[in-house]
């Protein structure tokens, strides 16, 4: 008895030591920076970038209330930033939807191949990731611009008479997000479909379920965690993306990422406001994730 107990103790202390590197990494690269952001968001801004270490709610006030161009009107709700946030959420949601639409059949296709061929298909999915995101986004820009190869090809075939006018639109941003994050959808779904036991669907077929209801009532519930993971992995980076809106959208319509970037790098030079916008974004994402995990826990109970 004591022997077992001692072993367990030894294992526990070993576990602490083994976990230490991860905790240190998370602490240094995640908790401290986020903590710093939180603190800065409650400080006073310094003109042209920087922070004065005096407590202030000005950053959150700027986010929420519109006091007119000169700050002397009675406060009304500030729509500017709400619109930017809503646009980002809608863009990210649409990107997630299309990634799912294309990603799920792709993942299903790969997972149902011969096990020797699967590695090859997965390899193909990851190939774009050998190239930096910036370069891929710039390449996409060259492809879709009005005088670019896609438009010229379609005009030469007579499919269209005028260029599509894709570049510098929200649709182009959408395309960029979809293209950048598609593999993030395919890989987790693949992982869960690969583990799916296909004898279940055979059983369903034996019980006269048609293909659609087998998919809906047998396959989807089992691979749902993979789908959810994929959606999260696409939605969250899309929400904060700034390369796609900058390069493909012509930097005309701020998304959250570009709004935050502008506060630190651009003309605004308002660090507390940039930090506050980041904290609001982070809070929204955390709430969404918490709702999701609670939902998961509930569905596991029932």
């Amino acid at each position: 008895m004591t022997q077992v107990y001692k072993q367990k103790r030894a294992f526990d202390s070993l576990r602490i030591w083994l976990l230490l590197p991860s905790w240190v990494t998370i602490g240094i690269f995640l908790l401290i920076p986020v903590g710093l952001m939180l603190v800065i968001s409650f400080m006073t801004k310094e003109f042209r970038g920087g922070v004065i270490w005096e407590l202030s709610l000005a950053a959150y006030d700027q986010f929420l209330f519109d006091r007119g161009l000169f700050g002397d009107e009675p406060p009304t709700i500030q729509w500017t930033y709400i619109v930017i946030f809503l646009r980002s959420i809608v863009q990210a949601a649409i990107a997630t939807f299309f990634c799912l639409l294309i990603g799920f059949p792709t993942a299903f296709f790969i997972a149902t191949r011969d096990s020797r061929n699967r590695t090859f298909w997965i390899f193909l999915v990851t190939v774009p990731y050998w190239v930096n995101l910036l370069i891929r986004t710039v390449s996409l820009k060259f492809l879709i611009r009005d005088n670019g190869p896609i438009n010229e090809f379609m005009i030469s075939l007579g499919l269209i008479s005028e260029p599509l006018g894709l570049i510098n639109t929200n649709l182009a941003v959408q395309l960029g997000l979809f293209y950048s994050y598609l593999p993030f959808m395919v890989l987790p779904i693949y992982a869960s479909v690969e583990r799916f036991n296909f004898t279940f669907s055979e059983a369903a077929a034996d019980l006269y379920a048609d293909k659609w209801s087998t998919l809906r009532r047998i396959v989807l519930p089992i691979v749902a965690p993979g789908i959810a993971a994929g959606c999260i992995l696409v939605f969250i980076p899309s929400l904060g993306a700034f390369l796609a809106p900058d390069l493909l959208g012509g930097a005309k319509n701020f998304m959250i990422g570009s709004l935050i970037e502008e506060q630190f790098k651009g003309n605004a030079g308002n660090w507390p406001f940039g930090a506050a916008a980041s904290m609001i974004l982070l809070t929204m994402v955390l709430i969404a994730l918490m709702l999701y995990t609670r939902q998961q826990a509930k569905s596991e109970l029932t």
Binding site: R48, V83, N270
Partner: protein
């Protein structure tokens, strides 16, 4: 066993590679030390940097930015102390001085100070040239594709109230200072105005003009004109000349309402790790032959005496550098007080919303 042999080979390979790397590194790093430059993109020919390294034995590293504001932001965010020199525009020199980011050039530290043209010696943004030397100067206006539009282009209305055929084909520099300065000239109101009605009309003008703009792009300002993605592009004169040289059938406009001019300057940064080498570099850039190489490359104008004989022949007749006789006098972008800047920032955010 096989694994062991492989490991041994690996180690051998590693040793060989690291020895090569070490000797290469040793031969290229010289005793004269380093120089770290923070510079605009596409603004200095590599050959000139090589020439400097050969003459002095100093290793040069360069990092780039695409706007004065990015330069300021990055220096304030902690990059000060890692660069020796930077190349801010006029108004940014005074801002950086006010922020305490500049070191002072002591009298006699630069041998070639006397080469600076007299009109650029006592400038408003750096009286007496205590912190900076001229690099290049030019104007900010716009170029118009003449295949797409044949009408009068000598008005800023092309940007702010464009004719029907140019709507949605305009690229604007992603540079708040220059866009707002130009809009102020167009409206005929002073820069950094505190008059509320004037600020409101500035806001209205930009919000309505934005509807007709295709994109905001500074580092791609040349490419969008060359590729034809934009028919009108707000651009710096030399960058516009380069776009024309690359085949775009464009004409640079000298609008009657006014002309935004600028001067970029090499400044000595505070806490420069290689202050001596920074001064050597500044002296190097005050040699007419060297700064002429920059002018030939960037297609702007130098602020140094005796440059002419080293310039490409076509530069002297380049329409982007030779304003018509009736062109208005140039105005520099003015740095505004915080009160006005806050309003400008709001206007700019609403433009980009």
């Amino acid at each position: 066993m096989a694994g062991l042999i492989e490991d041994k080979n690996m180690i051998k390979k590693f040793l060989v590679i690291s020895t090569i790397a070490f000797t290469l590194g040793a031969s290229s790093s010289s005793s004269e030390g380093k120089l770290s430059i923070y510079h605009w993109f596409e603004y200095i020919p590599q050959e000139l940097l090589n020439k400097f390294s050969e003459e002095t034995g100093i290793d040069v590293t360069m990092d780039t930015y695409d706007s004065n504001e990015t330069l300021l932001a990055n220096l304030k965010a902690g990059k000060i102390g890692s660069f020796d020199v930077a190349v801010p525009g006029d108004y940014m020199v005074s801002i950086m001085h006010a922020e305490g980011l500049l070191d002072e050039i002591q009298p006699g530290e630069l041998n070639n100070m006397g080469n600076i043209q007299s009109q650029w010696m006592d400038v408003s943004f750096d009286p007496g040239r205590k912190h900076s030397i001229p690099y290049q100067w030019g104007s900010t206006s716009f170029s118009v594709n003449r295949d797409e539009y044949q009408g009068d282009i000598r008005t800023m209305g092309i940007i702010f109230d464009p004719p029907e055929e140019l709507k949605g084909k305009i690229n604007v520099l992603d540079s708040q200072g220059e866009v707002i300065a130009m809009a102020s000239l167009y409206l005929g109101i002073p820069q950094c105005t505190t008059d509320k009605d004037q600020l409101r009309s500035l806001d209205e003008l930009l919000q309505s003009a934005k509807e007709n703009w295709a994109s905001f792009n500074s580092d791609g300002a040349k490419d969008v004109l060359v590729s034809g993605d934009a028919s009108v592009g707000m651009i710096w004169n030399g960058f516009g000349a380069k776009a024309r040289a690359e085949g775009a059938n464009i004409e640079y406009s000298y609008p009657r309402e006014g002309l935004v001019v600028w001067m970029d300057n090499v400044v000595l940064l505070k806490d420069a790790p290689n202050r001596e080498n920074a001064l050597k570099f500044m002296d190097f850039l005050l040699e007419p032959e060297n700064i002429a190489a920059v002018t030939n490359y960037a297609r702007y104008s130098a602020g140094v005496e005796g440059v002419d004989q080293f310039l490409d022949a076509d530069l002297k007749s380049q329409p982007e550098s030779v304003p018509p006789a009736d062109a208005p006098a140039g105005s520099f972008v003015e740095p505004c007080d915080e009160d006005v800047q806050v309003v400008y920032n709001q206007i700019w955010t609403r433009v980009k919303q």
